[in-house]
């Protein structure tokens, strides 16, 4: 059932509306999982996952125990404009949680989202990297909650679980806020901004059903999943540009490289020459690879997960 979670009046003839789709199975008081996406308006991967999950559950609703809530668009104005942030305000919605009920417009939106999800038994926040780099499906959890979340994170059929201490698990994110409120919450990242990779989507969908089975929410069949590489910040090698120009990757994404392998090059279209060759400093899996061609000094080109063998 489609329900309006929250609305607020914009200046001219329109409301900002947050909708959710609630699918109720047997024993609705059993458990509730919230599947949310679209906090960043230029990330679309979660759209496919919401659609595919809802479609499959509704086809076999008798297999569902409890409630699944889908929130496909937490930043509807951003999604409409493919804007990572909140249009006009220029702020990252995922730095505004838990929000404020009697605060400014978007603080109220954030507070309403938190209130609606509160009490759930699990929350999955689906992201699609950004328009700059492509990611393999991965779960990101902060070290603070890792002990509780890892058993669930392993079931999501991603290629990797990254326990990190940086931005995506920042204090004012939705996932951090929900974890603090006692709702186990995980961030899933995959793909690249403004595109949908259905292969990645299907992979994560199988994982979510597997997780729901673990939570005793899903009685239907689940596919075999594979377990992720589990890594910490110390095992992730960041490769950044030292020059300006246009980057051409020399390898495929999600690919094992050896130390010294060429990862790509940065060229000057004006001068017609290669400015810098990028080589791997360590062996490992390229789990992040730049998609956006223009680079400056400091632009992220790739991330390599080190300390693992080619499997």
């Amino acid at each position: 059932m489609i329900e309006e979670v929250f609305s607020i009046e914009l200046p001219v003839g329109e409301r900002l509306v947050i909708n959710k789709n609630r699918i109720t199975g047997k024993r609705p008081l059993n458990k509730r999982i919230a599947i949310v996406t679209g906090i960043h308006g230029d990330e679309f991967e979660g759209q496919y996952i919401c659609y595919e999950m809802a479609r499959r559950i509704m086809e076999a609703q008798e297999m569902l125990n409890g409630i699944v809530d889908f929130y496909p668009a937490l930043n509807p104005l951003g999604l409409d404009a493919a804007d990572h942030k909140i249009p006009k305000l220029g702020m990252d919605l995922n730095r505004m949680f838990p929000g404020k009920k009697d605060g400014a417009m978007m603080e109220r939106v954030a507070a309403a989202i938190v209130e609606d999800i509160s009490g759930a038994d699990m929350c999955l926040d689906l992201h699609a990297s950004d328009i700059f780099v492509k990611e393999i499906p991965q779960v990101r959890v902060s070290e603070e909650f890792a002990e509780d979340l890892l058993p669930y994170a392993r079931l999501l059929n991603t290629d990797m679980v990254w326990m990190n201490a940086t931005a995506t698990v920042h204090e004012s994110t939705l996932a951090h806020t929900m974890n603090m409120l006692g709702v186990p919450s995980m961030v899933v990242e995959m793909g690249v901004g403004t595109r949908i990779d259905r292969g990645y989507g299907d992979q994560v969908v199988e994982g979510i059903f597997r997780l729901m089975k673990e939570l005793k929410m899903w009685e239907g069949p689940v596919a075999d999943i594979h377990y992720p590489a589990i890594s910490t910040d110390g095992e992730v090698e960041f490769i950044r540009s030292d020059t300006i120009g246009v980057f051409f990757p020399a390898i495929a994404h999600n690919h094992y490289v050896q130390k010294g392998d060429k990862l790509g090059e940065i060229v000057s279209p004006l001068e017609g020459r290669v400015l810098e060759e990028i080589r791997a400093q360590k062996s490992g899996l390229v789990f992040t690879l730049r998609e956006y061609p223009f680079v400056r000094e400091g632009s992220l080109l790739a991330r390599i997960l080190t300390g693992i063998e080619e499997g």
Binding site: I8, E9, L10, P11, V12, G13, L16, H84, K85, L89, G90, M91, R95, D102, G103, A104, M105, E107, R108, F132, H170, E171, S172, R240, I244, G245, V246, S268, P269, L270, Y292, F294, R296, E297, G298, S299, L300
Partner: protein, 311 residues
Amino acid sequence: MHKEEIYRVRSPYREDMVIQGYRFGKGEPAACIVGAIRGNEVQQMYVCSQLIRELKELETNGCINAGKKIMVIPVVNGMGVNIGKRFFGVEDMDINRSFPGMDKGDTTSRIAYEIFDEIKEYTYGIQLTSFYMTGEFVPHVRMMETGYQNASLANLFGLPYVVVRKPTPLDTKTLNYNWQNDNTAAFSLYTNKNDSIDEDSANQAVSAVLRFLTRMGIIRYESHSGYISHVLMEDDLTDVYVEKGGIFRSFVKPGEYVRYGYPIAEIRDPYEGFIKQAVIAPTSGIVFFAHTEALIAQGDMAYRLIHRLHQ
């Protein structure tokens, strides 16, 4: 006056963005003043340029005290200024949310790192800055309550108000916070404008900085002694949020006194012109901040009032 290059950001198809510092006097790093970190902070840039003009003259006349060094950085995000963007680069990053930065981080983080490295040794740090919402303030000095701050120092600017703010997680990446954290006494100066120039308010800011530098024994400059500042905690401000969206017509300006129960603004229907909401003053006091855009959304902050203060 000595002009020095603090950092240079290159770009494939634009000229380099050179962050320039202007140094006056020699000796211990006494005071540093930073202007437009965001691309729309035109007033802030203007204030710094006027300060540089004054300091150049003072230096020629031997009015910079021996053993004191002053640094002014009028513009940081020059690339943003020239294309009308508040934040930096295609990633749309807020440089004032990137401090203290990382020398091997992303481009924005490198900019912040190089600037901070240059200016962190100064005893006093003064930043001309702007609020994330568009609107007008009464001129004031703002400081973070970090345990290192000293509100009585902020009074020496002689501006009408000093506001002490409790830092939130978002504030920890600002220049002001990191200065304080590194034992610089840091102040943020807010004038009434950002993307346009208000001559009176700019002159007031220039005088305030020169007055402060004189009182701290860094320069010799004869000026009016200014105001005895009213010190207030940001949490004590009364925020007025609106309950309708539409055309915003304000009846009061920053600095004006409003009376409890009197109308201070109205919101008109953008189609039919009727009054949708009469905004009533929830308390008597001085208007500290006012929304200045023609349009407003439900939940937007229209005013911040200084509760029960008379002119």
